[in-house]
């Protein structure tokens, strides 16, 4: 639409840049012609084409939130080694695409000199996909980048190596909005609230649409109530499951709570169809405290899971397959995590998760 005031044409609705203009020439030439790939060492693989061309990929872990100078740094590397092309992965890694094998080691040296790890392939711990957290979100029950940094520092060797039984996909979401595919990961860490929202009674009428606030609750815990002569709502504390849906539609129902916001850990989810069907992660630890800057309780719980998995799983078994084979009771026994009434699903269709048999490993 033309901007008459400035005498310029305003650009709208153009969609994304055409991807074809951003593919390296070797990819353009071999688009759809790839025959197979091999992992040469952790973080490095080669794809071989029908045309006999070989494309080398070096995968580099990054922080997801990055500065403009980081973007310039990686652009310089791309210029030096990759004819000015590079890509990102769905897990916030960088991938440098090389058509010359001899460039692999010099590139890796420079990447590592900048402080960035090469890895995240094959039987490794992938980069943790995560959300915004306290850094930039109002509904967060925890920080995201901080917990992820603390975890990846601790389990760094699993990223740069390939010594796990199979790939482990870890993900972090700072609230139940679960931006990203967090809930179907080998290990999912989720920000949890634990107390009902506070009703700012005198502000509900001005800030919120009361019917949609009531409709937002999945358990009918929000009800209309006149307070001090003003239309407002009340929360049935016995029903509330602390999901934060009502706060999402009504700013006068803040749910953040410094004492009670924390983190839950779910395990054994996957999105791939290989061998077993995609499945959600299941609850291992219902709540751990927010303890910045290093969240030691979360680190310990994840360490417990990773070590038990490493010791117990057979080669090629994802976390879900390992637990399926040994059974959940044994998972709780090995890890020492307490099994509580919170672990038994009492939400809609939750009853379907009961064990309707005599099957038990006694």
């Amino acid at each position: 639409m033309p901007d008459v005031d400035k005498g310029t044409v305003r650009i709208t609705d153009i969609g994304p840049p055409n991807y074809e203009n951003f593919l390296p020439p070797i990819i353009k030439k071999n688009y759809g012609k790839w025959l197979y790939h091999e992992i040469l060492k952790p973080g490095v693989m080669v794809h071989v084409s029908e045309t006999k061309d070989k494309l080398y990929t070096v995968r580099v872990g990054s922080t997801r939130i990055v500065s403009s100078d980081f973007v310039r740094d990686i652009s310089n590397l791309a210029d030096k080694y990759c004819n000015g092309y590079l890509r990102f992965t769905t897990r916030n890694n960088l991938e440098f695409l090389l058509d010359k094998e001899e460039n692999i080691e010099p590139l890796i040296k420079e990447v590592q000199a900048l402080g960035f790890p090469v890895g995240g392939m094959d039987h490794s711990l992938g980069n943790i996909v995560h959300t915004q957290g306290w850094l930039h979100c109002h509904t967060s029950a925890s920080d995201a980048s901080g917990v992820v940094k603390a975890l990846m520092d601790e389990f760094y060797d699993y990223f740069v190596g390939d010594k796990l039984p199979a790939k482990v996909r870890m993900a972090f979401a700072c609230c139940l909005n679960m931006c990203g595919s967090v809930g179907a990961s080998d290990i999912a860490i989720v920000g949890m609230h634990r107390r009902p929202p506070t009703v700012m009674a005198d502000r509900v009428k001005d800030l919120c649409e009361i019917p949609s606030t009531i409709a937002a609750c999945p358990v009918d815990a929000v009800r209309p109530k006149t307070i001090n002569g003003k239309p407002s709502v009340e929360i049935d504390e016995d029903r509330c499951v602390f999901c934060g849906n009502c706060y999402t539609v009504c700013p006068a129902l803040p749910i953040a709570d410094p004492l009670n916001d924390g983190l839950a850990i779910f395990v054994g989810g996957k999105v791939a169809n290989a061998r077993t069907k995609p499945t959600f992660s299941k609850l291992a630890v219902p709540w751990l405290p927010n303890n910045p800057p290093r969240w030691p309780e979360v680190i310990e719980a994840v360490r417990t899971i990773l070590e038990a998995y490493k010791d117990g799983a057979r080669r090629g078994e994802r976390v879900s397959e390992w637990i399926e084979r040994i059974g959940w009771p044994k998972f709780f026994k090995i890890t020492g995590f307490e099994f509580t009434k919170y672990h038994i699903d009492d939400f809609r269709l939750g009853e379907a998760t009961m064990n309707y048999s005599n099957y038990a490993r006694l």
Binding site: P16, F22, S67, S68, G84, T89, H136, N177, C243
Partner: protein, 406 residues
């Protein structure tokens, strides 16, 4: 010289350690951007207080669009004035996340000039996110990006920017052109992405094979997954090579979920009629096994996160269709199907009800009728066990019929 004017003992701890530090990234950006310096101060405050310091609500956007800009207003502007407004722009990623250094540098310049010098590469849905601008800067930021060829992505009750795996650009397992479909749908549905008219968000993701590297089946309302129909291609010489490296029976054959493989006398055979295309054998021996030649896509529907009525995975809506032929027809089948789904959602969905929740509420059978798809056994884990069937027809005796007419 890194550092911040704020005292940040908690965040300083996260500058240590082997993994790259996001705090260092924040500080690098803060060197050029005082408002990002205040962002660091605000985050340190959250680390002390254990709660977020962003206000709920407040509008930000650009003229003519209702989506693409996410307003962020801090609750502590007096202490951290730079964070009073610190908005996010969702910018369409390039399909497959491919970039050139040239375009990245230009984005970096825009981000320094018009925002806080901070990016997410990428946000969870797939967009590039530029962080840290004020409402009054939004239009210029948007137009600078547009001049570079980048449009805004979706947010709120709109179509979210579709995204895809690396596809045929660098993967031998892509059964269709994920980049092309994603690009095509994104262009087709510009209005649905920029101007929210839906009940809630709608996500489309394109995966080239059932490994689903874009996690479409767990988080996109419409998940398009590449698959083949005919026989897995076997190179017996390469199978023999793998046999030297590991026990094929133990690690491949015995792990097949439908036991449709056999390895005897150094020969691998597959009963492809019983193969569910799980990818395990192909993943294990990429040099020896390849997907078949009759390639196409499956469509799954209804995946979502816990909000509002609980999490759901997507179920099969279309077990197989020839998306490669549909490509020649500009994806007519796919676009018609999407339009029918949206029409139904528009007609019957309630506020903040995702398509998966609506289907649950009205029943899959009714949904299928509305979008004119036949029920298929591939859609279910098993047929119903409970007998409470809502029959929609019954027979009447002849005399009854007559007396009614009489």
């Amino acid at each position: 010289m890194a550092g911040t004017k704020h005292k940040t003992p908690l965040l300083d701890d996260l500058k240590e350690g082997k993994w790259p530090s996001f705090v260092k990234e924040l500080e690098r950006a803060a060197q050029k951007s005082p408002r990002t310096d205040d962002l660091i101060g605000l985050l340190e405050k959250s680390y002390r207080d254990h709660i977020p310091h962003w206000k709920h609500g407040g509008m930000a956007g650009v003229k003519g669009y209702g989506a693409g800009i996410v307003g962020r207003f801090s609750d502590s502007p007096e202490d951290f004035p730079g964070t009073q407004e610190y908005h996010t722009a969702r910018i369409n990623q390039i399909e497959g996340f491919f970039y050139t250094s040239d375009v990245l540098r230009k984005l970096a310049d825009i981000c320094d000039e018009h925002a806080g010098g901070l990016f997410n590469f990428h946000g969870s849905t797939g967009d590039i996110q530029i962080l840290g601008f004020k409402q009054k800067e939004a239009e210029e930021l948007f137009q600078k990006c547009a001049q570079l060829g980048f449009d805004l992505g979706g947010s709120g009750s709109a179509l979210r920017t579709p995204s895809c795996c690396v596809g045929p650009a660098r993967c031998e397992w892509a059964n269709y052109d994920t980049l092309h479909v994603t690009d095509n749908l994104t262009r087709e549905f510009q209005n649905e992405m920029h101007r929210p008219t839906f009940n809630y968000k709608f996500k489309i993701k394109c995966a080239g094979c059932p490994n689903d590297c874009i996690a479409s089946g767990a988080r996109s309302d419409l998940s398009i997954v590449g698959v083949w129909k005919d026989n897995i291609r076997i190179d017996q010489d390469q199978v023999a090579e793998y046999a030297k490296k590991f026990d094929i029976k133990k690690y491949v054959v015995d792990k097949c979920p439908t036991h449709c493989m056999d390895y005897t006398d150094d020969k691998l055979t597959i009963d492809d009629s019983n193969c569910v295309k799980c990818m395990h054998c192909i993943n294990s021996m990429p040099k020896a096994l390849r997907p078949g030649l009759q390639k196409g896509a499956q469509i799954r529907i209804g995946a979502k996160v816990p909000m509002v009525q609980g999490p759901r995975l997507g179920f099969i809506l279309v077990p197989f269709y020839d998306i490669n032929k549909d490509k020649e027809e500009d994806y007519t089948f796919l676009k018609d199907l999407i339009q029918k789904i949206w029409d139904f959602w528009d007609e019957y969905g309630t506020s903040r009800e995702r398509i998966g929740e609506l289907i649950q509420r009205v029943g899959v059978g009714n949904f299928l009728e509305a979008i004119e798809l036949e029920p298929l056994p591939e859609m279910v884990e098993h047929p119903r066990a409970n007998p409470f069937i809502k029959f929609e027809e019954y027979l009447v005796a002849d005399e009854e019929e007559e007396s009614k007419e009489g």
